[in-house]
Symmetry: C2
Protein backbone atom coordinates (compact mmCIF):
# COMPACT_ATOMS: atom_id res chain seq x y z
CA UNK A 1 0.00 0.00 0.00
CA UNK A 2 1.45 3.37 -0.95
CA UNK A 3 1.85 6.21 1.52
CA UNK A 4 -0.71 8.17 -0.45
CA UNK A 5 -3.31 5.41 -0.08
CA UNK A 6 -2.63 5.14 3.65
CA UNK A 7 -2.85 8.90 4.04
CA UNK A 8 -6.10 9.13 2.09
CA UNK A 9 -7.68 6.45 4.23
CA UNK A 10 -6.60 8.10 7.47
CA UNK A 11 -7.77 11.56 6.37
CA UNK A 12 -11.11 10.19 5.13
CA UNK A 13 -11.69 8.75 8.56
CA UNK A 14 -10.28 11.44 10.83
CA UNK A 15 -9.85 14.63 8.82
CA UNK A 16 -6.95 16.67 7.54
CA UNK A 17 -5.59 18.04 10.80
CA UNK A 18 -1.91 17.39 11.52
CA UNK A 19 -0.94 18.01 15.13
CA UNK A 20 2.61 19.19 15.75
CA UNK A 21 4.65 17.72 18.59
CA UNK A 22 6.87 20.71 19.27
CA UNK A 23 8.40 20.63 22.75
CA UNK A 24 9.60 24.23 22.72
CA UNK A 25 11.21 25.20 26.05
CA UNK A 26 8.53 27.83 26.59
CA UNK A 27 5.75 25.26 26.12
CA UNK A 28 7.41 22.78 28.47
CA UNK A 29 7.52 25.51 31.06
CA UNK A 30 3.90 26.47 30.44
CA UNK A 31 2.95 22.81 30.87
CA UNK A 32 4.74 22.81 34.22
CA UNK A 33 7.19 20.14 33.09
CA UNK A 34 10.21 20.89 35.20
CA UNK A 35 13.74 20.95 33.91
CA UNK A 36 12.89 20.83 30.23
CA UNK A 37 14.98 17.68 30.11
CA UNK A 38 14.49 14.45 28.17
CA UNK A 39 11.89 12.93 30.54
CA UNK A 40 9.87 16.13 30.17
CA UNK A 41 10.09 15.83 26.38
CA UNK A 42 8.86 12.27 26.55
CA UNK A 43 5.93 13.12 28.79
CA UNK A 44 5.03 16.04 26.53
CA UNK A 45 5.23 13.96 23.36
CA UNK A 46 3.30 11.02 24.74
CA UNK A 47 0.57 13.31 26.01
CA UNK A 48 0.13 14.79 22.53
CA UNK A 49 0.02 11.28 21.06
CA UNK A 50 -2.59 10.18 23.61
CA UNK A 51 -4.79 13.17 22.89
CA UNK A 52 -4.40 12.75 19.12
CA UNK A 53 -5.07 9.00 18.97
CA UNK A 54 -8.33 8.27 17.18
CA UNK A 55 -8.96 11.98 16.68
CA UNK A 56 -6.51 13.02 13.95
CA UNK A 57 -4.80 11.35 11.01
CA UNK A 58 -1.27 12.63 11.43
CA UNK A 59 1.13 13.89 14.06
CA UNK A 60 4.35 15.73 13.25
CA UNK A 61 7.17 15.73 15.80
CA UNK A 62 9.61 18.61 15.37
CA UNK A 63 12.90 16.73 15.52
CA UNK A 64 15.12 19.74 16.27
CA UNK A 65 13.46 20.19 19.65
CA UNK A 66 14.26 16.61 20.63
CA UNK A 67 17.75 16.81 19.10
CA UNK A 68 18.40 19.79 21.39
CA UNK A 69 18.78 17.21 24.16
CA UNK A 70 21.22 14.96 22.32
CA UNK A 71 21.01 11.18 22.52
CA UNK A 72 18.64 11.41 25.50
CA UNK A 73 16.29 13.55 23.42
CA UNK A 74 16.36 11.01 20.61
CA UNK A 75 15.62 8.22 23.10
CA UNK A 76 12.56 10.22 24.21
CA UNK A 77 11.55 10.68 20.58
CA UNK A 78 11.90 6.93 19.97
CA UNK A 79 9.37 6.25 22.71
CA UNK A 80 7.01 8.92 21.39
CA UNK A 81 7.24 7.42 17.90
CA UNK A 82 6.55 3.93 19.24
CA UNK A 83 3.48 5.24 21.04
CA UNK A 84 2.27 6.95 17.88
CA UNK A 85 2.68 3.78 15.83
CA UNK A 86 0.84 1.75 18.48
CA UNK A 87 -1.94 4.33 18.42
CA UNK A 88 -2.39 4.00 14.65
CA UNK A 89 -1.31 7.56 13.96
CA UNK A 90 0.61 8.40 10.82
CA UNK A 91 3.84 10.21 11.68
CA UNK A 92 5.65 12.83 9.64
CA UNK A 93 9.08 13.33 11.18
CA UNK A 94 9.79 17.02 10.65
CA UNK A 95 13.56 16.93 10.39
CA UNK A 96 14.24 18.71 7.08
CA UNK A 97 17.14 16.39 6.27
CA UNK A 98 19.09 16.44 3.05
CA UNK A 99 22.56 15.61 1.80
CA UNK A 100 24.22 13.86 -1.14
CA UNK A 101 22.97 10.41 -2.06
CA UNK A 102 25.36 8.16 -0.15
CA UNK A 103 24.80 10.20 3.00
CA UNK A 104 21.04 10.35 2.57
CA UNK A 105 21.13 6.57 2.92
CA UNK A 106 21.84 7.19 6.60
CA UNK A 107 18.76 9.38 6.95
CA UNK A 108 16.69 6.80 5.08
CA UNK A 109 17.91 4.08 7.42
CA UNK A 110 16.97 6.20 10.43
CA UNK A 111 13.51 7.45 9.51
CA UNK A 112 12.10 5.44 6.62
CA UNK A 113 13.07 1.84 7.34
CA UNK A 114 10.68 -0.59 9.02
CA UNK A 115 11.92 -1.68 12.41
CA UNK A 116 14.32 1.21 12.92
CA UNK A 117 14.04 2.88 16.29
CA UNK A 118 13.11 6.22 14.71
CA UNK A 119 10.71 4.75 12.15
CA UNK A 120 8.20 7.26 10.81
CA UNK A 121 5.77 7.17 7.89
CA UNK A 122 7.20 10.21 6.18
CA UNK A 123 10.10 12.62 6.56
CA UNK A 124 10.44 16.26 5.62
CA UNK A 125 13.49 16.83 3.42
CA UNK A 126 15.42 19.88 2.29
CA UNK A 127 16.42 20.02 -1.38
CA UNK A 128 19.33 22.52 -1.33
CA UNK A 129 21.63 19.83 -2.78
CA UNK A 130 19.16 19.26 -5.61
CA UNK A 131 15.95 17.28 -5.69
CA UNK A 132 17.80 14.61 -7.66
CA UNK A 133 20.12 13.97 -4.71
CA UNK A 134 17.09 12.67 -2.82
CA UNK A 135 16.30 9.82 -5.24
CA UNK A 136 17.78 7.04 -3.11
CA UNK A 137 15.88 8.29 -0.09
CA UNK A 138 12.63 8.25 -2.06
CA UNK A 139 13.33 4.71 -3.23
CA UNK A 140 13.92 3.50 0.31
CA UNK A 141 10.70 5.18 1.41
CA UNK A 142 8.66 3.62 -1.38
CA UNK A 143 9.82 0.10 -0.59
CA UNK A 144 7.70 0.18 2.55
CA UNK A 145 4.83 2.50 1.75
CA UNK A 146 6.53 5.59 3.12
CA UNK A 147 7.23 8.98 1.56
CA UNK A 148 8.95 12.31 1.87
CA UNK A 149 7.62 15.87 1.98
CA UNK A 150 10.11 18.12 0.21
CA UNK A 151 10.38 21.76 1.24
CA UNK A 152 9.02 23.87 -1.60
CA UNK A 153 7.72 27.29 -0.50
CA UNK A 154 7.75 28.31 3.15
CA UNK A 155 6.11 31.31 4.69
CA UNK A 156 8.99 32.62 6.81
CA UNK A 157 9.96 36.04 5.45
CA UNK A 158 13.62 35.15 4.80
CA UNK A 159 12.78 32.33 2.41
CA UNK A 160 11.27 34.00 -0.65
CA UNK A 161 14.50 35.20 -2.23
CA UNK A 162 15.91 31.68 -2.57
CA UNK A 163 12.66 29.83 -3.21
CA UNK A 164 11.63 32.32 -5.93
CA UNK A 165 15.06 32.32 -7.63
CA UNK A 166 14.81 31.27 -11.29
CA UNK A 167 16.40 28.12 -12.61
CA UNK A 168 17.85 28.03 -16.14
CA UNK A 169 14.47 27.02 -17.61
CA UNK A 170 12.71 29.97 -16.01
CA UNK A 171 10.92 28.15 -13.19
CA UNK A 172 11.15 29.12 -9.56
CA UNK A 173 13.29 26.93 -7.34
CA UNK A 174 10.11 25.86 -5.54
CA UNK A 175 8.43 24.88 -8.83
CA UNK A 176 11.51 22.91 -9.88
CA UNK A 177 11.36 20.96 -6.62
CA UNK A 178 7.66 20.32 -7.20
CA UNK A 179 8.30 19.12 -10.75
CA UNK A 180 10.90 16.62 -9.56
CA UNK A 181 8.51 15.27 -6.95
CA UNK A 182 5.65 15.10 -9.46
CA UNK A 183 7.80 13.20 -11.94
CA UNK A 184 8.72 10.66 -9.29
CA UNK A 185 5.07 10.28 -8.23
CA UNK A 186 4.00 9.78 -11.85
CA UNK A 187 6.40 6.86 -12.13
CA UNK A 188 5.76 5.20 -8.77
CA UNK A 189 2.43 6.49 -7.43
CA UNK A 190 4.10 6.84 -4.06
CA UNK A 191 2.51 10.14 -3.11
CA UNK A 192 5.57 12.07 -2.08
CA UNK A 193 4.48 15.53 -1.03
CA UNK A 194 5.52 19.14 -0.66
CA UNK A 195 5.77 21.54 2.24
CA UNK A 196 3.93 24.72 1.25
CA UNK A 197 3.17 27.44 3.77
CA UNK A 198 -0.55 28.01 4.28
CA UNK A 199 -0.38 31.68 3.34
CA UNK A 200 1.94 31.34 0.32
CA UNK A 201 0.82 32.95 -2.95
CA UNK A 202 1.35 29.77 -4.94
CA UNK A 203 0.79 31.38 -8.34
CA UNK A 204 3.80 33.60 -7.72
CA UNK A 205 5.93 30.47 -7.32
CA UNK A 206 4.27 28.58 -10.16
CA UNK A 207 3.19 25.91 -7.68
CA UNK A 208 0.15 23.85 -8.57
CA UNK A 209 -0.04 20.70 -6.46
CA UNK A 210 -2.03 17.91 -8.06
CA UNK A 211 -4.12 15.13 -6.59
CA UNK A 212 -1.16 12.72 -6.59
CA UNK A 213 0.91 15.02 -4.38
CA UNK A 214 -0.15 15.71 -0.79
CA UNK A 215 0.69 19.06 0.74
CA UNK A 216 1.87 19.63 4.28
CA UNK A 217 0.79 23.16 5.08
CA UNK A 218 2.24 24.69 8.23
CA UNK A 219 1.06 28.06 9.37
CA UNK A 220 -2.36 27.37 10.81
CA UNK A 221 -3.33 28.64 14.22
CA UNK A 222 -0.65 30.63 15.99
CA UNK A 223 1.09 31.44 12.68
CA UNK A 224 -1.95 33.21 11.29
CA UNK A 225 -3.95 31.07 8.84
CA UNK A 226 -7.46 30.00 9.88
CA UNK A 227 -8.36 26.32 9.72
CA UNK A 228 -11.86 27.31 8.60
CA UNK A 229 -10.30 28.83 5.47
CA UNK A 230 -8.56 25.64 4.32
CA UNK A 231 -10.68 25.28 1.16
CA UNK A 232 -10.26 28.93 0.20
CA UNK A 233 -6.53 28.77 0.82
CA UNK A 234 -6.16 25.56 -1.20
CA UNK A 235 -8.87 25.29 -3.86
CA UNK A 236 -7.24 22.18 -5.29
CA UNK A 237 -7.68 18.44 -5.67
CA UNK A 238 -4.54 17.89 -3.64
CA UNK A 239 -4.82 16.37 -0.20
CA UNK A 240 -3.76 19.21 2.09
CA UNK A 241 -2.74 18.53 5.67
CA UNK A 242 -3.43 21.53 7.86
CA UNK A 243 -0.64 21.57 10.39
CA UNK A 244 -1.16 23.29 13.72
CA UNK A 245 1.19 23.21 16.67
CA UNK A 246 1.35 26.06 19.14
CA UNK A 247 -2.35 26.93 18.95
CA UNK A 248 -3.11 23.42 20.19
CA UNK A 249 -0.14 22.76 22.45
CA UNK A 250 -0.57 25.95 24.43
CA UNK A 251 -3.78 24.49 25.84
CA UNK A 252 -1.61 22.50 28.23
CA UNK A 253 -1.86 18.80 28.98
CA UNK A 254 -5.33 19.02 30.52
CA UNK A 255 -6.71 21.07 27.63
CA UNK A 256 -5.25 19.12 24.72
CA UNK A 257 -8.25 16.99 23.80
CA UNK A 258 -10.57 19.98 23.80
CA UNK A 259 -8.11 22.02 21.71
CA UNK A 260 -7.79 19.20 19.17
CA UNK A 261 -11.56 18.75 18.98
CA UNK A 262 -12.00 22.50 18.50
CA UNK A 263 -9.45 22.53 15.70
CA UNK A 264 -11.15 19.58 14.02
CA UNK A 265 -14.51 21.31 14.25
CA UNK A 266 -13.08 24.43 12.67
CA UNK A 267 -11.80 22.55 9.61
CA UNK A 268 -14.27 22.32 6.71
CA UNK A 269 -15.75 18.84 6.33
CA UNK B 1 38.28 34.05 20.85
CA UNK B 2 36.40 33.78 17.58
CA UNK B 3 36.06 30.52 15.71
CA UNK B 4 38.15 32.00 12.92
CA UNK B 5 41.01 32.76 15.30
CA UNK B 6 40.86 29.27 16.76
CA UNK B 7 40.77 27.72 13.30
CA UNK B 8 43.71 29.82 12.06
CA UNK B 9 45.81 28.78 15.04
CA UNK B 10 45.01 25.09 14.58
CA UNK B 11 45.68 25.17 10.85
CA UNK B 12 48.96 27.09 11.32
CA UNK B 13 50.12 24.37 13.64
CA UNK B 14 48.77 21.24 11.97
CA UNK B 15 47.79 22.10 8.41
CA UNK B 16 44.54 22.40 6.47
CA UNK B 17 43.50 18.74 6.36
CA UNK B 18 40.03 17.93 7.68
CA UNK B 19 39.49 14.21 8.29
CA UNK B 20 35.96 12.92 7.83
CA UNK B 21 34.46 10.51 10.35
CA UNK B 22 32.08 8.70 8.00
CA UNK B 23 31.03 5.30 9.33
CA UNK B 24 29.50 4.06 6.09
CA UNK B 25 28.27 0.47 6.39
CA UNK B 26 30.76 -0.62 3.69
CA UNK B 27 33.66 0.93 5.63
CA UNK B 28 32.58 -0.67 8.90
CA UNK B 29 32.55 -4.00 7.10
CA UNK B 30 35.94 -3.37 5.54
CA UNK B 31 37.29 -2.53 9.00
CA UNK B 32 35.98 -5.86 10.26
CA UNK B 33 33.64 -4.19 12.75
CA UNK B 34 30.88 -6.73 13.08
CA UNK B 35 27.22 -5.87 13.06
CA UNK B 36 27.60 -2.25 11.99
CA UNK B 37 25.80 -1.37 15.21
CA UNK B 38 26.32 1.52 17.59
CA UNK B 39 29.35 0.01 19.41
CA UNK B 40 30.98 -0.46 15.99
CA UNK B 41 30.31 3.21 15.18
CA UNK B 42 31.87 4.29 18.43
CA UNK B 43 34.98 2.18 17.92
CA UNK B 44 35.30 3.49 14.36
CA UNK B 45 34.89 7.12 15.40
CA UNK B 46 37.24 6.94 18.34
CA UNK B 47 39.90 5.26 16.19
CA UNK B 48 39.72 8.14 13.69
CA UNK B 49 39.97 10.64 16.55
CA UNK B 50 42.98 8.84 18.02
CA UNK B 51 44.78 8.78 14.69
CA UNK B 52 43.92 12.43 14.00
CA UNK B 53 44.93 13.82 17.41
CA UNK B 54 47.99 16.05 17.14
CA UNK B 55 48.18 15.44 13.38
CA UNK B 56 45.30 17.44 11.92
CA UNK B 57 43.39 20.58 12.83
CA UNK B 58 39.84 19.44 12.22
CA UNK B 59 37.69 16.33 12.13
CA UNK B 60 34.24 16.21 10.58
CA UNK B 61 31.79 13.53 11.71
CA UNK B 62 29.06 12.79 9.18
CA UNK B 63 26.02 12.92 11.43
CA UNK B 64 23.63 11.05 9.10
CA UNK B 65 25.67 7.87 9.47
CA UNK B 66 25.35 8.01 13.26
CA UNK B 67 21.69 9.05 13.08
CA UNK B 68 21.06 5.89 11.03
CA UNK B 69 21.30 4.03 14.36
CA UNK B 70 18.89 6.25 16.25
CA UNK B 71 19.48 7.27 19.85
CA UNK B 72 22.19 4.62 20.21
CA UNK B 73 24.02 6.13 17.25
CA UNK B 74 23.81 9.57 18.82
CA UNK B 75 25.14 8.17 22.10
CA UNK B 76 28.12 6.79 20.15
CA UNK B 77 28.59 10.17 18.50
CA UNK B 78 28.52 11.90 21.89
CA UNK B 79 31.45 9.76 23.03
CA UNK B 80 33.35 10.40 19.79
CA UNK B 81 32.79 14.15 20.19
CA UNK B 82 33.98 14.04 23.81
CA UNK B 83 37.12 12.20 22.70
CA UNK B 84 37.74 14.78 19.98
CA UNK B 85 37.37 17.68 22.42
CA UNK B 86 39.73 15.99 24.88
CA UNK B 87 42.23 15.49 22.06
CA UNK B 88 42.21 19.21 21.19
CA UNK B 89 40.70 18.64 17.75
CA UNK B 90 38.31 21.16 16.27
CA UNK B 91 35.07 19.47 15.25
CA UNK B 92 32.76 20.40 12.40
CA UNK B 93 29.51 18.46 12.83
CA UNK B 94 28.40 17.73 9.29
CA UNK B 95 24.64 17.63 9.80
CA UNK B 96 23.38 20.15 7.19
CA UNK B 97 20.65 21.36 9.54
CA UNK B 98 18.29 24.21 8.77
CA UNK B 99 14.77 25.32 9.65
CA UNK B 100 12.92 28.49 10.61
CA UNK B 101 14.35 30.56 13.44
CA UNK B 102 12.47 29.23 16.46
CA UNK B 103 13.24 25.66 15.40
CA UNK B 104 16.88 26.38 14.63
CA UNK B 105 17.19 27.22 18.32
CA UNK B 106 16.92 23.48 18.93
CA UNK B 107 19.80 22.76 16.56
CA UNK B 108 21.84 25.55 18.16
CA UNK B 109 21.21 24.05 21.61
CA UNK B 110 22.32 20.64 20.38
CA UNK B 111 25.48 21.46 18.46
CA UNK B 112 26.70 24.95 19.31
CA UNK B 113 26.18 25.31 23.05
CA UNK B 114 29.01 24.73 25.54
CA UNK B 115 28.34 21.75 27.75
CA UNK B 116 25.74 20.12 25.50
CA UNK B 117 26.31 16.44 24.90
CA UNK B 118 26.70 16.97 21.14
CA UNK B 119 28.87 20.08 21.45
CA UNK B 120 30.94 20.81 18.35
CA UNK B 121 32.95 23.83 17.22
CA UNK B 122 31.02 24.33 14.03
CA UNK B 123 27.98 22.95 12.25
CA UNK B 124 27.18 22.66 8.56
CA UNK B 125 23.82 24.27 7.77
CA UNK B 126 21.47 24.19 4.80
CA UNK B 127 19.98 27.53 3.70
CA UNK B 128 16.88 26.41 1.74
CA UNK B 129 14.68 28.41 4.16
CA UNK B 130 16.80 31.50 3.51
CA UNK B 131 20.15 32.49 4.94
CA UNK B 132 18.31 35.01 7.12
CA UNK B 133 16.48 32.21 8.91
CA UNK B 134 19.85 31.12 10.31
CA UNK B 135 20.57 34.37 12.17
CA UNK B 136 19.67 33.08 15.63
CA UNK B 137 21.81 30.02 15.10
CA UNK B 138 24.77 32.22 14.12
CA UNK B 139 24.26 34.37 17.20
CA UNK B 140 24.26 31.34 19.49
CA UNK B 141 27.43 30.08 17.82
CA UNK B 142 29.20 33.41 18.18
CA UNK B 143 28.51 33.66 21.89
CA UNK B 144 31.01 30.87 22.48
CA UNK B 145 33.53 31.17 19.66
CA UNK B 146 31.71 28.75 17.39
CA UNK B 147 30.51 29.09 13.81
CA UNK B 148 28.53 27.58 10.98
CA UNK B 149 29.51 26.50 7.48
CA UNK B 150 26.61 27.22 5.14
CA UNK B 151 26.13 25.08 2.06
CA UNK B 152 26.89 27.24 -0.97
CA UNK B 153 27.99 25.25 -4.05
CA UNK B 154 28.35 21.49 -3.90
CA UNK B 155 29.89 19.23 -6.50
CA UNK B 156 27.18 16.55 -6.72
CA UNK B 157 25.71 16.67 -10.24
CA UNK B 158 22.10 17.21 -9.10
CA UNK B 159 22.90 20.44 -7.26
CA UNK B 160 23.82 22.94 -9.96
CA UNK B 161 20.31 23.76 -11.13
CA UNK B 162 19.21 25.05 -7.73
CA UNK B 163 22.51 26.54 -6.60
CA UNK B 164 22.92 28.41 -9.91
CA UNK B 165 19.34 29.69 -9.96
CA UNK B 166 19.18 33.50 -10.11
CA UNK B 167 17.75 35.60 -7.32
CA UNK B 168 15.88 38.82 -8.10
CA UNK B 169 19.11 40.85 -8.04
CA UNK B 170 20.78 38.57 -10.57
CA UNK B 171 23.08 36.67 -8.25
CA UNK B 172 23.25 32.90 -8.04
CA UNK B 173 21.63 31.30 -5.02
CA UNK B 174 25.11 30.23 -3.90
CA UNK B 175 26.43 33.80 -4.17
CA UNK B 176 23.44 35.12 -2.23
CA UNK B 177 24.20 32.68 0.59
CA UNK B 178 27.85 33.77 0.52
CA UNK B 179 26.85 37.44 0.67
CA UNK B 180 24.68 36.85 3.73
CA UNK B 181 27.52 35.04 5.49
CA UNK B 182 30.03 37.74 4.48
CA UNK B 183 27.77 40.46 5.83
CA UNK B 184 27.45 38.68 9.15
CA UNK B 185 31.22 38.14 9.35
CA UNK B 186 31.85 41.81 8.60
CA UNK B 187 29.73 42.77 11.59
CA UNK B 188 30.97 40.18 14.07
CA UNK B 189 34.30 38.83 12.82
CA UNK B 190 33.07 35.37 13.72
CA UNK B 191 34.43 33.59 10.68
CA UNK B 192 31.36 31.72 9.57
CA UNK B 193 32.25 29.75 6.48
CA UNK B 194 30.93 28.16 3.32
CA UNK B 195 30.83 24.64 1.95
CA UNK B 196 32.20 24.76 -1.59
CA UNK B 197 33.05 21.59 -3.49
CA UNK B 198 36.73 21.29 -4.36
CA UNK B 199 36.09 21.02 -8.10
CA UNK B 200 33.42 23.75 -8.39
CA UNK B 201 33.93 26.45 -11.04
CA UNK B 202 33.45 29.27 -8.56
CA UNK B 203 33.41 32.03 -11.18
CA UNK B 204 30.30 30.46 -12.69
CA UNK B 205 28.55 30.85 -9.31
CA UNK B 206 30.04 34.30 -8.62
CA UNK B 207 31.64 32.90 -5.48
CA UNK B 208 34.73 34.66 -4.23
CA UNK B 209 35.49 33.67 -0.63
CA UNK B 210 37.51 36.27 1.25
CA UNK B 211 40.03 35.96 4.06
CA UNK B 212 37.34 36.41 6.71
CA UNK B 213 35.35 33.41 5.49
CA UNK B 214 36.81 29.90 5.76
CA UNK B 215 35.89 27.32 3.17
CA UNK B 216 35.12 23.69 3.86
CA UNK B 217 35.96 21.92 0.63
CA UNK B 218 34.79 18.32 0.33
CA UNK B 219 35.79 16.31 -2.67
CA UNK B 220 39.43 15.48 -2.03
CA UNK B 221 40.71 11.96 -2.35
CA UNK B 222 38.13 9.41 -3.36
CA UNK B 223 35.90 12.10 -4.85
CA UNK B 224 38.54 13.17 -7.36
CA UNK B 225 40.39 16.34 -6.33
CA UNK B 226 44.09 16.03 -5.46
CA UNK B 227 45.29 17.43 -2.15
CA UNK B 228 48.52 18.50 -3.89
CA UNK B 229 46.43 20.84 -6.07
CA UNK B 230 44.85 22.76 -3.17
CA UNK B 231 46.58 26.05 -4.08
CA UNK B 232 45.69 25.77 -7.76
CA UNK B 233 42.08 24.89 -6.92
CA UNK B 234 41.76 27.76 -4.43
CA UNK B 235 44.12 30.62 -5.34
CA UNK B 236 42.60 32.79 -2.62
CA UNK B 237 43.35 34.38 0.74
CA UNK B 238 40.57 32.32 2.28
CA UNK B 239 41.44 29.58 4.70
CA UNK B 240 40.43 26.43 2.85
CA UNK B 241 39.97 23.17 4.72
CA UNK B 242 40.64 20.21 2.45
CA UNK B 243 38.22 17.54 3.55
CA UNK B 244 39.01 13.90 2.84
CA UNK B 245 37.09 10.92 4.13
CA UNK B 246 36.99 7.67 2.22
CA UNK B 247 40.53 7.95 0.83
CA UNK B 248 41.79 7.96 4.42
CA UNK B 249 39.21 5.75 6.11
CA UNK B 250 39.59 2.92 3.64
CA UNK B 251 43.10 2.35 5.01
CA UNK B 252 41.47 0.51 7.90
CA UNK B 253 42.16 0.98 11.58
CA UNK B 254 45.76 -0.20 11.38
CA UNK B 255 46.56 2.00 8.40
CA UNK B 256 44.90 5.23 9.56
CA UNK B 257 47.94 7.05 10.90
CA UNK B 258 49.95 6.33 7.77
CA UNK B 259 47.05 7.44 5.55
CA UNK B 260 46.67 10.68 7.49
CA UNK B 261 50.40 11.38 7.35
CA UNK B 262 50.43 10.68 3.61
CA UNK B 263 47.52 13.08 3.07
CA UNK B 264 49.26 15.77 5.15
CA UNK B 265 52.44 15.31 3.13
CA UNK B 266 50.53 15.69 -0.11
CA UNK B 267 49.03 19.05 0.92
CA UNK B 268 51.12 22.08 -0.06
CA UNK B 269 52.91 23.68 2.90
Amino acid sequence: MTFLARLRAAVAERGALCVGIDPHPALLEAWGLPGSDAPALERFGRAVVDASAGRVAVVKPQVALFEAHGAAGFAALERVLADARDAGLLVIADAKRGDIGSTNAGYAAAWLTPGSSLEADALTVSPYLGAGALTGLLETAERSGKAVFALAATSNPEAASLQLARTADGRSVAAAVAAAVAERNARTGAGHGLVIGATIDRARYGLEPDAAMPVLAPGFGAQGARLADLRELFPTDALVLASASRSILQAGEAGLVAAIEAARAELPA
